[in-house]
Each structure stands twice: as structure tokens, then as C-alpha cells.
């Protein structure tokens, strides 16, 4: 019998350009499991997509409602934006007792939301990233930074975290200024940022949204030459859009020196999508975790498998990397403890959110490359 898993992402709306890769990531994991033939006695895992629109809580709720009550999905990989994620969690997942694993909702508010133990995320929390950013900046000897963030819960939370950490470490934040995604022009923001000054501009935004717009404008006007890119900004698009103009800029995004990340990129290439696209690896991991937990519980009922997610994701146990899901299923069947590492070295802490491992990147010769891990 087929097992259905919902993929609820903003296929239309402001994040529509990164969602295809995210969905593809999740579906890649499902295909892998299905192809192994070792899942729940040979069941296939069928993805069912739903459009969260990223912004319209009601539409997202209704899509989730349909997936859960009509398609009968056994778990939800999603949603993407924190707002709709919260809505689906409260209005669909909890009432129906369905597990939800979000690959990209990073709002700290979700940590404390009532979830009956049903909600997890493979994306690290913003607080953690604040520390990482501060460390990297300090190691490079920067004392003065300006921050611009995309005006939503992700950007705002991240900017808050960075500011707090950086100032606590004795640095100066000259300005923290929001930008709205998808707008036509960022001259005003860049004007204010330039006026405030700073050695580095931290762009807490999305690479295919306003973030790139701000960088473009800042480069053109000569407002900043060095940038720091947090997770939402790191992607192939950066190379494409700016190339050598960014030489000397740096950043970090979730990832480990484990082979997982690279493997995933390779697998993605084979499947025809961009594995470095934001939150695509997280999506793979989210889907994988759901399925592993089901296997471990021997049941697709959320109530049964929800308790296994945390312990599957964390050590101890045999490490599982992308592409090794079949092996994992075997190990689970054999009763061996596993530690799912996946594409992003997931490590779930606290209320079921990723602890966050980061890889530091730097631009040289018009492309970025990983120079270290934190």
C-alpha cells in the first residue's frame, strides 16, 4: 500500500523560485525510499504537493486540510514560511495529529508554540546563526557592520540575533534596516545603509529576492564592497548575478564537512535540479526523517512515529548520509541504532529543531567556495 507524504510549500508567491528545488529535494528522498523497496514491506512513498502560497494562511490551511483529510497524507514535509507553518500546525496538524517537519521555518516563536510533539524543523534557529555570524566577523577583525534584513519573521529574527550577539561581543552595528522582498527599487535602503557606513554589510535576505537587489544597488553605487551572506543568501544565483564583483565577500550557510552535502549536490544534479538552492538539502532531510521514523515505528500513524524523529536525527548510531536511505532502512529493520546526518548534518535539539552546523564560504575569482566549517 502506498504511503502518502504531503509537501506543502509556497509554489506561488514570494518564494516561488526556491520552492521547486525544495520540493524536488523532498521528492528525491521519497523516490530513493520507494526505489529501495524496503519501506514498510515494499510500500511506495507518494508525494502530494500543496501550495502554501507562503503568505495566505487561509489558503495554506485549506491546502493542508485537503492533503490531510482528503488525500490522507501520513506526514507533512513543510511548510516553508513561518507564518503559514504556524497556521497549518495549529489548524490542521495538531487537530488531526499529523507530524510536520519544516525545512525552512526559522522563527524562534515556533520553538515555544504548542505542538503536542508533532512539529520539527531541519532548519537551524536564528539564534544559533547569530553566534556563527559574530564569530566569523570577529575572526576576520571587523568591528563595524551594517545589517539589512528581509522584512519577515526570518529576516527580522536573524537580524535581531546577529545584532544582539555582535554588540555583546563588543562590535558596533551602525544600522539595522529592513527591505521588502519583490519590490522594484532598493535605492532608499542602500542610501540609508551607505550613510550609516560600516566595514561589512550583512544581508539577511533571500538571494533571489530583495537580498540580491540590495547587493546589486550597493555594489553599483559603491556603498559597500564587502558583504556577509547568511544562509538565505548563499546560492548559485550569487555567482551568476554578481561573479567577480563579490570577491572578498564571505558568509556561511548550514552544512557540514561531512560528505553529505556534496553527495546531495551530486544527487540533485542527477535528478535535474540545483542541490545548492536554499533549503533544498533541508527538504531532503525533512522528508527522509519522516520516512525513517515511520520505518522505525513500523507504523505510518503520526502518533506512533513522532517520538522517533529526535532520536533518529541524533547520535549515537551509525551515520546515514544522503543516498544511503536504503541502508538506513536495513539498519532500522535490523534494530541497529542510526544517526541520520543527511545533507545538512541534522542534529535536533530543544523542541525539535536543528542545532545548526555551518560552512563558511568566501568569494574568490567570481565564485564562492567553502573554506571551513563551524
Amino acid at each position: 500500500e502506498d504511503v502518502k507524504i504531503g509537501i506543502i510549500l509556497g509554489f506561488t508567491g514570494p518564494l516561488e523560485s526556491i520552492t521547486p528545488a525544495m520540493a524536488a529535494g523532498a521528492e528525491l528522498a521519497m523516490k530513493e525510499v520507494t526505489d529501495s523497496g524496503k519501506f514498510m514491506g515494499g510500500s511506495a512513498v507518494v508525494p502530494v504537493r500543496g501550495d502554501s502560497t507562503c503568505i495566505d494562511a487561509a489558503a495554506a490551511t485549506s491546502a493542508a486540510e485537503r492533503l490531510v483529510t482528503s488525500d490522507g497524507v501520513a506526514g507533512i514535509m513543510g511548510a516553508d514560511c513561518s507564518g503559514v507553518t504556524g497556521a497549518i500546525l495549529q489548524n490542521v496538524a495538531r487537530p488531526n495529529g499529523i507530524v510536520m517537519v519544516s525545512p525552512s521555518a526559522t522563527s524562534p516563536g515556533l520553538s515555544t508554540a504548542e505542538d503536542d510533539g508533532l512539529f520539527f524543523r531541519t532548519a537551524p534557529s536564528d539564534a544559533r546563526q547569530g553566534v556563527i555570524v559574530t564569530n566569523i566577523l570577529q575572526d576576520r577583525g571587523f568591528k563595524e557592520i551594517a545589517i539589512t534584513y528581509t522584512n519577515n519573521d526570518y529576516g527580522k529574527g536573524l537580524a535581531d540575533a546577529i545584532q544582539t550577539e555582535f554588540e555583546a561581543a563588543g562590535g558596533t552595528v551602525t544600522i539595522v534596516s529592513a527591505h521588502e522582498d519583490g519590490k522594484a527599487d532598493y535605492s532608499a535602503e542602500v542610501g540609508a545603509l551607505a550613510s550609516a557606513g560600516g566595514e561589512v554589510l550583512v544581508v539577511a535576505g533571500y538571494v533571489d529576492q530583495g537580498g540580491s537587489g540590495v547587493v546589486r544597488s550597493a555594489l553599483d553605487t559603491g556603498a559597500f564592497e564587502t558583504f556577509y551572506f547568511p544562509d538565505g543568501m548563499v546560492g548559485a544565483k550569487l555567482n551568476e548575478n554578481f561573479g567577480a564583483e563579490l570577491n572578498g565577500s564571505f558568509g556561511a550557510y548550514p552544512g557540514t564537512d561531512s560528505t553529505g552535502a556534496a553527495t546531495f549536490v551530486g544527487m540533485a544534479e542527477g535528478a535535474g535540479f540545483d542541490g545548492t538552492s536554499a533549503f533544498a538539502p533541508e527538504s531532503y532531510d525533512a522528508a527522509a526523517l519522516i520516512m525513517m521514523a515511520m520505518a522505525k515505528a513500523g507504523s505510518t500513524a503520526s502518533a506512533d512515529y513522532k517520538d522517533h524523529i529526535m532520536d533518529l536525527a541524533n547520535a549515537p548510531g551509525e551515520q546515514i548520509f544522503p543516498g544511503e536511505l536504503a541502508k538506513a532502512l536495513d539498519l532500522i529493520a535490523a534494530g541497529t541504532e542510526i544517526d541520520y546526518v543527511g545533507a545538512t548534518a541534522v542534529e535536533l535539539v530543544g523542541a525539535g529543531e536543528s542545532a545548526g552546523n555551518y560552512q563558511e564560504i568566501e568569494f574568490a575569482d567570481g565564485a564562492y567556495s567553502t573554506i571551513g566549517y563551524r
Binding site: 509554489f11 506561488t12 516561488e16 520552492t19 521547486p20 504537493r49 500543496g50 501550495d51 503568505i55 495566505d56 494562511a57 487561509a58 489558503a59 490551511t61 485549506s62 491546502a63 486540510e65 485537503r66 490531510v68 483529510t69 482528503s70 514560511c81 513561518s82 507564518g83 503559514v84 504556524g86 497556521a87 495549529q90 489548524n91 495538531r94 487537530p95 488531526n96 495529529g97 522563527s107 524562534p108 516563536g109 515556533l110 520553538s111 515555544t112 508554540a113 504548542e114 503536542d116 539564534a127 522584512n151 519577515n152 519573521d153 529576516g155 527580522k156 529574527g157 535581531d160 529592513a178
Partner: protein
């Protein structure tokens, strides 16, 4: 075919669509559509009041809906500990200062002779007021936002029952509408439209950026509910027993029951508003409004105070949108300011009114249900359509893959096609004004 018969058929069709959803998809989906349909119908009524009856081109609906949502937080959330003592009072006095400076600017404008002196005096009062406001206000905001910013950082609410937030949401919206009306109702047609649109954007900007109020873009989640939680029902032996007696599993029963309770609440609000709107419309008041809509100059010459009537209906219509906004936020259980997008909360409502038939309350209600139904169902419809046309294509063909990848975008396309078809078949709306 008589009008009554036609209208009954329309509503029967809508009922059929919803019931069909229940049978083909799930009753939860059906009830969800019903609930949002009820709320949509209320919003459509509010807009219809303004446009259909008074010809006011208000495209700031989003702002009023958002104010209703804000009310929900401010009324029903428990207060944040220490926020009031930290800076709440200071914020309030800052706001008071701000209002005072605006009022005194207006006074200067009214009292002084026009000329350069007046302009200078106004500028002086305004800038002094502005800096005083910032000086007092900013400190308070900082203090409040410093309190546990990751989970609070706002002043919280009053901790009152959430149902109370519905009328208060209406009052919020009405208050804003009154201020807007006083300043902008002199504008006509599209000029009024852009003014109201702008004001709505301003409301949203404030809600997004003033974290002390309702956490801004960080969202407020976990709002109290007027109905029980499903999980509580599932844990209640009594409920489980009842569900079993009807042969429904307790989880489904609880989700359905909660939705039914909501539906009941929403239906009551809708019916009350509908009956009142209908009574008003079918009376000399309605006649007067239609006269004003037809010809303002001559209504004015016939002794009707056009400005006052416009203000009245603008405030009323907006209040209704505010109530609906509070209801949506209650249903969502959270306030997410980034979700207030003009497409969803303004233009979709306009679609409802026009497709339903502007100037006709029944039409507005019908439009609310129909458009909402499609808004939700075009997603599976678009997908189904694409699956159908690609079913003949070779597996793995590039075109097929491309088509299926684009399925999500077919959602809006399908919506467009449905819209054009409906308007083609009844250009004045499904239930036109008589």
C-alpha cells in the same frame, strides 16, 4: 425564470459544490471552505455596501481586515509581564503627544489666515511635535521590545475573551475609516482607490514594523479560541464516546465538530449583518444612497448631505471588514502581518463583489462563496487539468515534465479563466442589481 428561482438555483449549486467537496475530498475540507466562505461573504457585504450602494471605490480593504486582526491580539492575548511597567505608559504618552501635535497643526491650519506665516507655523508645530513624539515614544518602544524579543517583545493584550475582539475589530476599522473618510472622501473614483490602497499599505507597514504592538513580522501565534481545541475533545471521554456512538473516529469527529462550531458563529454574524444591510437598503436610506451614487451634485441640491452619508457608509462598510478580519485571525489562530497582501485581501474581495453582482447583497454573499470556493479549489483543478492533458504524452518527455512543473502556476491561470468565463456569461454579475 424568475429571480427567486434563479437565485435559489445559484445557492443550491454552491451548496452542491461544497457538499461535493465533502464527498469527493473530505468533509473537513468542505467545512473549511464553508467557514472561509462565510467570512468572505461578510467582507463582500462590507465592500458591496461601499461600492454597490454608494459608489465608493475603496481598495483599502486589506488595511481594515488587518486592523480587525490586530484587535484580536490586543484583546485576547494575555498581557506580557513587565511590558506595561517597562515602557507601555511611555508609548501611550508618546502617542498622545503625536496626536496632540497633529491636532494642533490642524488647529493652526484652521485658525490662521492662509499665507506663508501659516505654512511656517504649521511646519514648526509639526516638526516640534514630531521630535517630541520620537523622543518620548522611541524610548518606550525600545524598553518594551527588549523584553524577551524572541518570544515576546510586545505589550501583549488584555486577556479578554476572543469573541469580544470581533466587535472591537469592527470598532478599530471604523475608527480608521473615520479618519480616512474625513481626509480622503473628497476624492473620486480611482483617486479614492489609490488613496485607500495607500492607507492600507500604511496600516500594514505600521503593523509590520511596530513590534511593540503585536510583534510585527515576528507574528503572534497561539491566539485563544472561542471553541474547544480538538486535542481536548479527543482526550475527553465523553466526546469520544459520542463520536463512537455516531460511528466516526474521534479525531475526525473533533475536527469536524470544531469547524461546525465556527461555522455556527460565523453564520450568525453573517445573517445579522445581511439582514441589517438588506433592511437599510430597502428603505428610504437605501434610496438616498443610490441617488447619491447616481448623481452627487443633484443629491446635494436635493438636500442630501453627501459628505456625511459617504462618511457614514464608508465607516460602516469598513467596520464590517474589520469584523471579518478579526474573525479570520481568530480562525487562523495567529496574526501574520506579512500575509496581508492586496491581492488576497483587497482584490479577491472585489472579485467576489463584482462576480456576485454589485449593488445586490445576495449577490455579494453568493460571490463570496463562489470565488472563495474556486480560490481554494483551482489548485487541485489546475493540477487535474494538467494531468489530464499530459496523460497522453510520453513518459519522461520534456514538455510533460515542464507542464507538470508549472502546475502550481496554473492555479492563478485557472482562476483567471474561471473569472473571465463567469463574467462573460453574466457581465453584470451572477445576481445583478435590479
Amino acid at each position: 425564470m424568475s429571480d427567486t428561482l434563479r437565485n435559489s438555483i445559484y445557492f443550491a449549486l454552491v451548496a452542491l459544490l461544497i457538499i461535493g467537496t465533502g464527498i469527493l475530498q473530505s468533509w473537513n475540507s468542505a467545512l473549511f471552505i464553508l467557514n472561509m466562505g462565510l467570512i468572505s461573504a461578510i467582507m463582500a457585504l462590507g465592500v458591496n455596501l461601499q461600492w454597490g450602494f454608494a459608489g465608493l471605490f475603496n481598495v483599502g480593504i486589506m488595511g481594515f481586515v488587518a486592523l480587525g486582526g490586530l484587535a484580536t491580539v490586543l484583546i485576547s492575548m494575555p498581557p506580557v509581564e513587565g511590558a506595561w511597567s517597562a515602557g507601555g505608559m511611555r508609548i501611550l504618552s508618546g502617542l498622545a503627544l503625536g496626536i496632540m501635535s497633529i491636532v494642533s497643526t490642524i488647529l493652526v491650519f484652521k485658525r490662521m489666515q492662509s499665507g506663508r506665516n501659516r505654512t511656517l507655523a504649521m511646519l514648526a508645530v509639526l516638526s516640534i511635535g514630531f521630535f517630541a513624539f520620537r523622543a518620548v515614544f522611541d524610548g518606550g518602544v525600545e524598553a518594551v521590545e527588549a523584553i524577551n524579543p524572541a518570544n515576546a517583545g510586545n505589550i501583549g493584550g488584555l486577556g479578554l475573551p476572543v469573541l469580544l475582539a470581533w466587535p472591537i475589530g469592527g470598532v478599530f476599522a471604523a475608527g480608521a475609516a473615520w479618519i480616512i473618510g474625513k481626509t480622503a472622501l473628497g476624492l473620486r473614483s480611482d483617486y479614492l482607490a489609490i488613496a485607500t490602497l495607500g492607507i492600507a499599505e500604511i496600516v500594514i507597514a505600521v503593523m509590520k514594523n511596530e513590534d511593540w504592538m503585536a510583534r510585527g513580522v515576528k507574528n503572534v501565534i497561539g491566539l485563544p479560541r472561542p471553541v474547544p481545541y480538538e486535542i481536548d475533545l479527543q482526550n475527553s471521554a465523553e466526546f469520544v464516546a459520542k463520536a463512537n456512538a455516531y460511528g466516526i473516529d474521534p479525531v475526525t469527529a473533533s475536527t469536524l465538530w470544531v469547524k461546525l462550531l465556527y461555522a455556527g458563529l460565523f453564520a450568525v454574524v453573517l445573517i445579522v449583518i445581511f439582514v441589517m444591510a438588506q433592511a437599510a437598503l430597502k428603505s428610504p436610506w437605501g434610496r438616498m444612497m443610490r441617488a447619491i451614487r447616481d448623481n452627487e451634485v443633484s443629491s446635494e441640491a436635493m438636500g442630501k448631505d453627501v459628505t456625511a452619508r459617504h462618511l457614514q457608509i464608508f465607516v460602516l462598510g469598513s467596520a464590517i471588514c474589520g469584523i471579518a478580519g478579526a474573525m479570520i485571525t481568530t480562525l487562523d489562530g495567529q496574526l501574520t502581518p506579512t500575509s496581508y497582501q492586496p491581492l488576497r485581501f483587497t482584490f479577491l474581495v472585489w472579485l467576489m463583489v463584482i462576480v456576485g453582482g454589485s449593488g445586490n447583497n445576495l449577490g455579494a454573499v453568493l460571490g463570496g462563496f463562489v470565488i472563495w470556493f474556486f480560490w481554494v479549489q483551482v489548485e487541485p483543478m489546475g493540477l487535474a487539468f494538467l494531468t489530464l492533458i499530459t496523460s497522453g504524452m510520453a513518459e519522461g518527455s520534456a514538455l510533460k515534465a515542464h507542464l507538470l512543473d508549472s502546475a502550481a502556476h496554473m492555479r492563478l491561470l485557472t482562476m483567471g479563466i474561471i473569472l473571465l468565463c463567469v463574467l462573460r456569461f453574466s457581465p453584470r454579475g451572477l445576481i445583478p442589481e435590479k
